[in-house]
Symmetry: C2
């Protein structure tokens, strides 16, 4: 018999305990190991809880019990989660976490610690909640040279954008509705300013390209400046605005991770991902493209991913080296700045007619892909060309009201 310890008995931690006992038989058959929830670490007491006898307040109890082989970390935040997880790994216990901040900021250190102690540090739940994406990336797609990833990595903002798109709600009203329904926090900045999606694209970038990418290396632009008029123009031009976390390998070998509102055209499956769901599209030289979709958050969905990791940890005999990456320091020039960004663009403008757009596109050396009275889409171009197009429009007396890049699927 081996014990599992759960660190943090909030929404995710209690979900892990609940789903474990619901499917304990299946989990034990899958791993060939008798398992039990041995401890639940939390500062609080839970006098009415069925598992209150497992609650402890001191991490040392868990560290000292050699029967604890596996730890689920769902405390959130970097402190004290980082310290606790590191000590668990050093004590020879594999850890599965749902804590994206921890992985995005300290993943490289914890992966090295796990390796040094022949255990595993898994984090399937840290990106896309229930969606199997971390493990497929480094197992099923292991024979691919992956060139880029783009995903809807935050359910709250996706819900808000759907309300703007389908129900013509303004951003503020859609956000208020998301808060009322419990999808958004009272302080919604981590979602709407892109910080949450940023952490997730850091994790995906690090895993796929092999070196740690930190949140402050990612160009991150949230949703606050996206207006209903932007969403409606995109719709008229055949697309939907989505908050896209993406990373691309450039021709010079550097990578460019970004979080920003982008227009996804309706022939891309990503444009049809609605509500609080997440989806991640992956491009590789073998698979072409493949997409993973599911709930990005929630008690049992997240618990499903944490438990999937624990099950894998039980089956491993040593560190799984494919789910790892190097520290960032070794290569300071690994992450490109936003100047290197190129994409098709959509401009919303004062009404001027498509003739003006066509002429200025020709002058700037880009293709006019689509136009309305009050906006247009131009073909893929770099930042400098996009700026030139904008300036020429200005010289014609056209006011630029917004500029949103278009995702190339």
């Amino acid at each position: 018999m081996k014990k599992i310890a759960v660190l943090g008995y909030g929404v995710v931690g209690s979900g892990v305990v609940e789903l474990f006992y619901r499917n304990q038989k299946k989990i034990e058959a899958n791993t060939g190991t008798k398992l039990e929830i041995g401890y639940i670490l939390d500062l609080r007491e839970f006098p009415d809880d069925s598992y209150q006898d497992r609650v402890v307040h001191d991490i040392q109890v868990i560290l000292d019990d050699p029967e604890v082989g596996y730890v689920a970390e769902s405390m959130g935040g970097v402190n004290p989660a980082f310290d606790f997880v590191r000590r668990c790994l050093e004590a020879g216990k594999s850890v599965a976490t749902s804590n994206k901040q921890l992985v995005a900021e300290k993943g490289d250190i914890l992966l090295q610690t796990a390796k040094a102690h022949h255990v595993n540090f898994f984090f399937e739940a840290s990106v896309g909640g229930a969606i199997p994406i971390i493990r497929p990336l480094h197992t099923c797609l292991a024979a691919n040279d992956i060139s880029s990833i783009a995903g809807i990595l935050n359910g709250t903002t996706n819900f808000i954008l759907e309300k703007m798109f389908c129900d013509n709600m303004r951003f503020a009203n859609a956000l208020a509705l998301a808060q009322k329904l419990g999808y958004a926090e009272k302080d919604p900045s981590a979602d709407v300013d892109g910080g949450d999606a940023c952490r997730k694209i850091c994790i995906l970038s690090s895993l796929v390209f092999g070196k740690h990418v930190y949140p402050d290396q990612v160009y991150t632009k949230g949703l606050r400046n996206v207006t209903l008029e932007d969403v409606q123009l995109a719709q008229r031009l055949g697309g939907a605005v989505k908050l896209i976390g993406a990373v691309k390998r450039l021709d010079d070998g550097r990578i460019l991770p970004t979080v920003m509102p982008m227009i996804v055209m309706e022939d891309s499956l990503l444009s049809h991902v609605n509500g609080v769901f997440n989806a991640v599209m992956v491009w590789g030289d073998g698979v072409d493209k493949t997409m993973f979709y599911g709930r990005g958050a929630g008690k049992l969905p997240t618990a499903s991913a944490v438990l999937g990791d624990l099950i894998d940890a039980v089956k491993q005999t040593d560190t799984d080296l494919s789910q790892s990456w190097e520290p960032a320091e070794a290569d300071a020039d690994f992450v490109a700045p936003i100047d290197a960004f190129s994409a098709p663009r959509c401009y919303r403008t004062s009404p001027c007619g498509s003739g003006v757009f066509a002429r200025i596109a020709a002058e700037t050396g880009v293709e006019l892909q689509n136009a309305a009275e009050d906006g247009c889409m131009i073909s893929c171009c770099d930042q400098k060309t996009a700026e030139a197009f904008k300036q020429k429009l200005g010289q014609e007396g056209v006011t630029i009201l917004s500029r949103i890049p278009v995702l190339v699927d």
Copy 2:
């Protein structure tokens, strides 16, 4: 150094060799093992091929070489693939196959053989081509009680249905176009009659529910009777006709695997899966629902899945018992007959008006969900109720032109 042998040097086999050498470094880093394509088994000679020096004609050469640890089988068909794969497993070599017929008909035997010899028999490429689905099901989703699966498992028929839906083509014309473009065979029966999707749903059902499901246990209805008028009615009622391979666990514990045209409503992501792409939706008690999408066939996509399996095989130290199932014989009553099927239905009829549909729905005890002049959708009901609804319509002088079930997402 370990050798890989490739059985069958057709489209998939040559893709395996090509993708292996393209990403050899990455594959070796991932597995921590030096690897080489040692042999290519084929009856033919390939005098102009870069790897013609690896071509052999006798399986015994491969069986006798102790350096061959891993085998990619891409011959297709049951004979002689079954015999060759079994002997490879008996000789202690793990096998990855793209051969869905082999897995659907002989999977249980080969899985037992692999187990007896402490090696692996993997088949990610047998369902959904490039899409990671087999491994996520038994690893990432291992903590879930999976209740049902529904997917677009055949790209050829999905292409045909898209042409009917988007371009108003008749079935015969869309099929002819698919043949012209190389998506459909000259004899298209395996695709359009559902046999290909049937094998795939057998494999998914066996894996998820733990006992072998044979093709002849699956109710299989192809696409030949789906008319343009059916597709257009579905569109007017807010859905798209898709060929759906599905399996569901019934309340009595039996499972019901089916392949049939179904209407998928536009609020389901599955309805937006177009072209030759495949997608598999999975429902579990932890994840709620999650979907996997990608190319269902093709040289490099399929090779990507085969190589992903081989990489996993290299990393395994023994048989992975979670990717396995029991022979079917133990429980003859495991698979329910089609009589147990229940779903909402769509009827296409002679024009009669929605008043008639509403009245007869009320008389039959079902809900009218949606109606047009010449058709309607009724709420979920069993086969008997659906038959009663149809008969009552007939008694009113209404001609039933088609009946298509609706997928509940």
